[in-house]
């Protein structure tokens, strides 16, 4: 049983560019959320997707947007990249039938230069 999978694992972008990160939830899970983790900090909630709609959003600007597909996979898009967007981006999934356990992927390391 595959867990939460994310791609790419590492990427380097230039200020002002746009980036798309991808996530496939754990099998049987239908809710996907995204987190940003800066070095030395705990993860910060960006937003959550369920039934292809954004359901909850944290304190992040509109440059951060997302999408969920009918197969429950998800994308995180960040526009107009800033140096401060450099971080580990984590995807988490949860399924109603799986209780309240929230599983994280290994993350995508984004470096903005």
């Amino acid at each position: 049983d595959a867990g939460v999978t994310q791609s790419p694992t590492h990427l380097i972008k230039t200020r002002g560019q746009q980036v798309t990160l991808r996530c496939s939830p754990k099998s049987g899970h239908d809710t996907v959320s995204w987190y940003q983790q800066a070095l030395g900090q705990g993860p910060q909630f960006i937003f959550q997707y369920y039934e292809e709609e954004e359901r909850q959003r944290g304190n992040f600007p509109d440059r951060f947007s997302g999408h969920q597909f009918p197969n429950y996979s998800s994308e995180l898009n960040v526009n107009a990249l800033l140096l401060g967007d450099s971080a580990l981006y984590l995807c988490a999934s949860r399924g109603a039938s799986g209780g309240n356990t929230i599983y994280f992927g290994e993350g995508s390391w984004l470096t903005v230069v």
């Binding site: 993860p43 909850q56 309240n100 356990t101 929230i102 994280f104 993350g107």
Partner: protein, 112 residues
Amino acid sequence: EDQVTQSPEALRLQEGESSSLNCSYTVSGLRGLFWYRQDPGKGPEFLFTLYSAGEEKEKERLKATLTKKESFLHITAPKPEDSATYLCAVQHMNSGYSTLTFGKGTMLLVSP
């Protein structure tokens, strides 16, 4: 606003030297308190979810406990492979199930 404070920031133990990590939280309505383990460069690995004061859960050398204001992660006779950052997070009663507020973590180093 939900707040989570973990202490100490870093902890160095000798193999076999038991200790506890602390997670203090402020939340107006707690649905659940989560503990995760995170290895360098990896995503958080789920350990426990606690729901009510007095609850305890165990897994190998780890035991998590919960009070109305804090949670403890007790590590009994740790081994070098227990070295990692341990993250605590709270889930608010009125937020989405996937919305967690994390602390900064405690970095644990266990020396042989």
